[in-house]
Symmetry: C2
Subunit: 430 residues, 2 copies
């Protein structure tokens, strides 16, 4: 049952507990396991990948089967419905259109004394996308990772995903990859896949950036190889926070909470409302909808452990609590969502008004669904085209400009005790 809380202090404590759920347990055993996997793959390459795939995925592969073949890619189109293909294509279009907005562009600026300053943006050479297997093997994950990389014009994009039964990969995932323009796909998952992308093996190329969600092993492996490669973020379980006033429809709020909870027993679904009656109606609806829910067991678990309804006296307090939690997804189910937005400081994505359930953003509104979790919205943003780009600062001084700045630079160099810094200017301008 969805718990209801009325006191702000209790709410703050509960929100903190839920926010800390990801890394609250003891993770040293996993860290140790991941370290061993990463080191072994770094040293033994493909051989280690096959060993770990046999051990963890219980699939016995040979090196030649690591890469998904052209005929498997073709066959995937026969294994999904036309309706699904068209849905994937429409999502693809809409996600691409959004990501093409405000792509970083190189610029230079000409200043007095012929000083030229600027930034030059370029894509990374190679990107590696991780797509989870099993319960979370989603075509939408593929689109949300692949399309920004494509828009960034990354020359080589590879995808890794663990093999399922008989080494198979979800055909919808294979179709989504191809629709997004990716055909280099390897059948490997877990920490071993992350290590392969970070260090390269005979079969799998070393990449510059690794993105995509995964379980705790994948996440710890990403953290471990960060610095050798770039990563998008350390993804934790998903979460939604709904701020609702008396204009919200309790059935809609309830189904949105369940849409989050059904992802994962660790998912969090939180309602903050100024309307106590609404809280009880939502509680009732959640209970009703859980009956006969196809994913009842895990969804119920998420609601019981990380579900919460908080009744507050004003939308200001609701915004305050939401900012404390810094949710991945924030729904503003209130009469004036644009009026409330000014009070929101931290949220991965904000869904405004009564006709914008989070599912719209999960699939096809356009903005990326890879968002900061576990409070990371305090400092991080959605995955985007810039995840796959970087810039070089550009600086050109003329003779005149250097002379102009010469004494200032020498004073600073002297203060820092770096004589050659000063000399590099002095020798050019004396």
């Amino acid at each position: 049952m969805l718990r209801i809380i009325n006191r702000q202090l209790d709410a703050e404590r509960e929100l903190k507990r839920i926010g800390d759920r990801t890394f609250s347990g003891e993770i040293e055993p996993q860290e140790k396991a991941v370290k061993e996997i990463v080191t072994t793959v770094k040293n033994k390459g493909d051989e280690a990948l096959l060993d770990y795939t046999a051990k963890f995925d219980r699939q016995v592969l040979e090196v030649v089967n690591l890469r998904v073949s052209g005929s498997e890619l073709d066959a995937a189109y026969q294994q999904i419905s036309q309706d699904l293909l068209h849905a994937i294509q429409l999502a693809c279009q809409k996600i691409e259109a959004f990501h093409r907005q405000r792509v970083p562009r190189s610029w230079v600026q000409f200043n007095e004394d012929d000083i030229v300053l600027g930034k030059r943006y370029t894509p990374v050479d190679r990107a590696g996308l991780y797509v989870p297997g099993g319960r979370a093997s989603y075509p939408s994950t593929v689109l949300m990772n692949a399309i920004p990389a494509k828009v960034a014009k990354v020359p080589r994009i590879v995808m890794v995903t663990p093999p399922g039964e008989e080494g198979k990969i979800n055909p919808a995932v294979l179709v989504a990859a191809q629709e997004a323009g990716i055909e280099e796909i390897y059948r490997v998952g877990g920490a071993q896949a992350i290590a392969a992308l970070a260090y390269g093996t005979d079969t799998i190329p070393k990449v510059d950036v690794i993105t995509g969600p995964g379980n705790i092993y994948v996440t710890l492996a990403k953290k471990m190889v960060y610095g050798t490669v770039g990563i998008d973020s350390l993804a934790g379980p998903s979460e939604v926070l709904v701020i609702a006033d008396e204009t919200a429809n309790p059935t809609h709020v309830a189904v949105d909470l369940l849409a989050q909870a059904e992802h994962d027993p660790m998912a969090a679904a939180i309602l903050i409302t100024t309307d106590e009656k609404l809280a009880y109606q939502v509680q009732k609806e959640v209970t009703r909808m859980l009956e006969g829910h196809p994913r009842k067991t895990l969804t119920e678990k998420a609601i019981a452990n990380y579900g919460l309804a908080v009744v507050v006296e004003s939308l200001e307090v609701a915004a305050y609590l939401s900012n404390l939690f810094a949710p991945e997804h924030l729904e503003l189910e209130v009469s004036d969502p644009w009026g409330l937005i000014e009070k929101i400081r931290h949220a991965g994505a904000i869904f405004l008004g009564h006709s914008t359930p989070e599912a719209v953003g999960d699939y096809l509104a356009g903005p990326n669904h890879t968002l900061p979790t576990s409070g990371a919205a305090r400092y991080a943003s959605a995955l985007g085209v810039e995840t796959f780009m970087k810039h070089s600062s550009l600086i050109q001084y003329s003779d005149t400009a250097l002379k102009q700045m010469s004494s200032t630079i020498q004073i600073l160099a002297q203060a820092e005790g770096l004589p050659s810094h000063g000399d590099s200017v002095r020798l050019r301008t004396e």
Copy 2:
């Protein structure tokens, strides 16, 4: 002596060795030490800070002395020359002017069927700047970290830096902080300072983002707390790569190599040139200038271990080798630097032409001097205003728009086995 290499394969091998120098050694003992420090600070707060400061910095402080007082801040102005003050002020102005260019701005876009999409940019609530002590206690480091945070409008910015003799902090560092608008400064360094910023203590506030360079302990601590807070990057020792043709002045190239080497015995200084004669002239000049260099011992060590001149047959090969190395600083000391730039794929900052020594960018050209090292330029960029900002995606659908997309979303939700996702749309549109 600066080594000269003529064969491309040797050059590739040497560049790889130099690029890998940061983490090539065994760092497990340091990792273990850092883990203990971070955990202890997390659990014991200020008490642990004082203990570690006594142990590592050999300074016995009390809690009330952790924060640098107003009178110390005032006094710092009396301890530096007017010339240095004016140099800091000019650098401040020029760095701020550059960082005010292209600050991320919120935007929304109105689409058909009353769909509103956009991104809302906000600063982080709190930023923590780390400024090293000892050999690398530089006012320029303060400016390059503080100014982007100020331009981002971060409401609370705190600085930490280890105490020197008698608990003192470099007055130029204190003045630079104040000129950049920072007055909350704590006398603590090392991994313990990073832990304090990540978890908070009674005295030091928990922040959202930690930036700034440091030694291996600081860097490992930043990696460890990444996920709890955001970080700028994992900084390694500094490096310059100079591409020069026959138009370059050997004395200028030599002094630029030394200006990098004088930072740190681990610093790397690399010349790639199409002109063999230049290589030998630079070698001779480096040797000559090292005589009587005030930081001879460490500079010589850097040149011996991580200095290199490579003679190549063309600027294309030079660019190829440079891209392999992905240098933090790249100088193009060639007749047509803008012609060469198209071939450069990875570099933190590019200094164009004969009158742009790296020192210009280190101090006051404007672009940030906090740049990706150790090959991270393959995927990362300079510190910037965006390091202290994040965005929330904005999505608003109208009734009509949701109806329009209803069946597509339901098809995708069904394919992913997430019934409540589909229901959240179906229940709103049926």
